[in-house]
């Protein structure tokens, strides 16, 4: 999407005639060129970033090769570096966050766009936008002072006694770990999902709703079977935005995840994520191999985001074919 060029029809400068019209066309060309350069700059930045990360991680790439991705020891003293626990933590926390935030966010967006009075909806939207602007360190503090104690004292014991037979909810309840990081991330993602999804739902043409209602659909049927499928790609777009944010979130995660490179099926276990370990250790990293391993982690995060976004796009393609039928009601 970043690389789209302008839609201005491309006509070369008309030779010879120096009419007012040709001057305008030349102006179009200039605008076209300038906007193309802006778009190309984004691509250039991305390529430059990958190049720099690649160049900056020569030592660990040569020393560890693919073992960097496969091993799970992170030992700065003996210079053994494996990224697996961090990759695992990044994916698990993002997954937990989306699992919580998507249903909640979508539900809230449907309420705000379809059911709530306009005045209430607009006022609530103001607060949601405000939430999106809160710095992540504040969410981290919220995590430390509110979510962690709640988790330790109430939520984790409750999950343990009800769903404790599942491997996800076993082990000691420290209050911090994958689940807590996921919950804090979910709180941070909600405003993105709500805000974008609401806008998309509001932009669904009135005719669509009226047609469904005229055919005898209830209000809920019209919303769920007509409006939401119509807005599907926009809603998925909001979820991507949330996913990207979840994968890259640093400060809030590092404050609540426990910062221990561990792979554990239990969501109660402390863990660590890629962004979190880079932020924690980059500053005091001594030794080239150590520093470059952290840079390679950055490269891994970049690729991970790339792959997950690609998968999500495939998911859109797959569902948009299936969803075409649903829109017929």
């Amino acid at each position: 999407m970043a690389a789209t060029t302008t839609t201005v029809p491309g006509t070369g400068p008309v030779a010879g005639s120096r009419s007012w019209l040709s001057g305008l066309r030349e102006g179009d060309e200039i605008v076209r060129l300038i906007t193309f350069l802006f778009a190309a700059f984004v691509v250039f930045l991305t390529v430059l970033l990958v190049f720099e990360l690649w160049q900056g991680s020569v030592l660990p790439r040569h020393k560890f090769g693919f073992n960097f991705l496969r091993t799970s020891v992170w030992d700065p003293v003996n210079e053994q570096f494996g990224a697996l626990p961090f990759i695992y933590g990044t994916v698990v926390t993002a997954a937990v966050a989306l699992l919580i935030a998507v249903p909640l966010g979508l539900g809230a967006a449907i309420f705000l766009a379809e059911l709530a009075p306009v005045r209430l909806s607009d006022n609530l939207e103001f607060f949601i936008d405000l939430l999106a602007a809160v710095p992540s360190v504040i969410y981290g503090l919220l995590g430390i002072f509110i979510v962690i104690p709640l988790m330790r004292q109430y939520i984790q014991p409750a999950l343990k006694s009800t769903l404790g037979f599942l491997p996800f909810f076993q082990g000691p309840a420290y209050g911090l770990g994958f689940l807590t990081a996921g919950v804090v991330l979910a709180i941070m993602l909600l405003p993105y999902i709500i805000s974008v999804s609401r806008e998309v739902l509001l932009s669904v043409p009135r005719d669509q709703r009226e047609a469904a209602l005229a055919l005898g659909a209830t209000r809920w049927e019209a919303t769920w079977k007509v409006v939401v499928p119509f807005a599907r790609s926009g809603i998925l777009g909001s979820i991507f935005l949330a996913l990207a944010r979840a994968l890259g979130e640093t400060m809030a995660v590092t404050m609540v995840i426990g910062n221990t490179p561990v792979i554990s099926a239990s969501l109660f276990s402390p863990g660590d994520s890629i962004a979190s370990v880079i932020a924690s250790q980059f500053k005091e990293a001594t030794g080239d191999l150590y520093l470059q391993s952290l840079i390679e982690l950055g490269l891994v995060l970049f690729l991970l985001t790339f792959i997950l976004n690609g998968l999500a796009r495939l998911l859109i393609l797959a569902t948009s074919e299936r969803g075409g039928g649903m829109a017929h009601l």
Binding site: P76, V77, Q80, P270, A279, S280, Q281, K283, T286
Partner: protein, 343 residues
């Protein structure tokens, strides 16, 4: 008519700026975050004393300080851990002359804990601390802990270890100490600003560790002495190499440095953890300024040497107000001698 005075003021300011820029010598340094409060106080006071010298310091971390001074982008570096032999060699190879270490103040780590029902200052043996942080001593009523704490009712609860998540000088001191008192720690974990912890949770910064310990029952962690004092935290005594249980305070930390001064190597690269001496607190450390032994620019050289000798004398009087332990006079005397090597 209102504009005229502003123009005049601006002109005067501009002129003053020119004069000021002309005669001020600016020095830049970068490195350790732990001594940043005292360093900024010193640089400020020194600027008041000699208005021609302006010292800018960026607390980017010890690793960054070593890197920047090696690359020659700053006039001096600062580090909580001494440079390794490899780092010294890298500096020598690049510049053709060695870099010197100058201790400035002292810091210490203390064990802090949260055991429901226990408000006493616990006594910790080195074996107990190493055992806890290795994950071998797992209950608060382990004989290694209860032994030196007769009369304290310690519960049979699991111990939760909390450590720093980010690389830090505090962790360096702690792991340096554990490496000295435990052979197993030395071979299995080692010392560094960040290590592969056998057990425990990571908290971000002193405040992160302190927060986790405060919130989590039956936990133990380590924080800087300054942080513990300023926040009036409960922390334990640690048994030193003479067998005495010492509570960390400014005096016992300075004592550790004083008893280490006798065998101080000429380059001051010395760890004073587990130092000898009856009153020495065992988990203490210097923090260092890193200064090139050759400074071609004579005015910069004079400025740096002037500052260091002021810091060793009058400057030390500012330490206690900011909860840093001052250098013992034996070390000050040795440093003054070493300062003459800077040419």
């Amino acid at each position: 008519m209102k504009r005229l005075p502003i123009t005049v003021v601006l002109a005067i300011l501009g002129f003053a700026g020119l004069v000021w820029a002309d005669s001020t010598l600016s020095l830049t340094g970068a490195g350790a975050t732990f001594p940043y409060p005292i360093y900024s106080k010193w640089f400020d006071e020194y600027h008041k004393k000699d208005a021609n010298i302006q010292i800018n310091y960026q607390s980017i971390g010890s690793g960054g300080g070593i890197k920047q001074i090696t690359e020659g982008t700053v006039d001096f570096g600062a580090s909580d851990g001494p440079m390794t032999d490899a780092q010294l060699k890298a500096y020598q190879d690049k510049h053709g002359f060695p870099i010197l270490h100058f201790p400035t103040v002292l810091g210490a780590d203390v064990p802090t804990y949260n055991i429901p029902g226990v408000s006493a200052e616990l006594n910790f043996t080195p074996q107990a601390l190493a055992g806890i942080f290795l994950g071998k001593v797992t209950k608060w009523n382990d004989p290694l802990i209860t032994g030196p704490n007769k009369g304290v009712n310690l519960p049979a609860n699991d111990i939760l270890v909390v450590h720093r998540s980010e690389g830090s000088g505090t962790t360096y001191i702690w792991t340096d100490y554990l490496s000295k008192v435990s052979e197993e720690w030395k071979t299995r974990v080692g010392k560094g600003t960040a290590v592969n912890w056998p057990v425990g949770l990571g908290g971000q910064g002193n405040e992160g560790v302190a927060g986790l310990v405060k919130q989590t029952p039956n936990s133990i962690g380590y924080v800087e002495l300054i942080y513990a004092i300023q926040n009036k935290m409960l922390y334990g005594r640690v048994q030193n190499s003479s067998g005495a249980f010492i509570k960390a305070d400014l005096a016992s930390v300075t004592a550790a440095a004083a008893s280490a001064a006798e065998n101080m190597p000429a380059d001051f690269r010395v760890s004073i953890t587990n130092a000898p001496g009856k009153t020495a607190y065992p988990i203490s450390s210097f923090t260092w300024l890193l200064i090139p032994s050759k400074i071609p620019d004579a005015s910069k050289r004079d400025a740096i040497k002037g500052f260091v000798s002021w810091m060793l004398g009058q400057g030390q009087n500012y330490t206690e107000a900011l909860s840093y332990a001052r250098l013992p006079k034996e070390v000050v005397a040795k440093e003054k001698k070493a300062l003459t090597e800077v040419q």
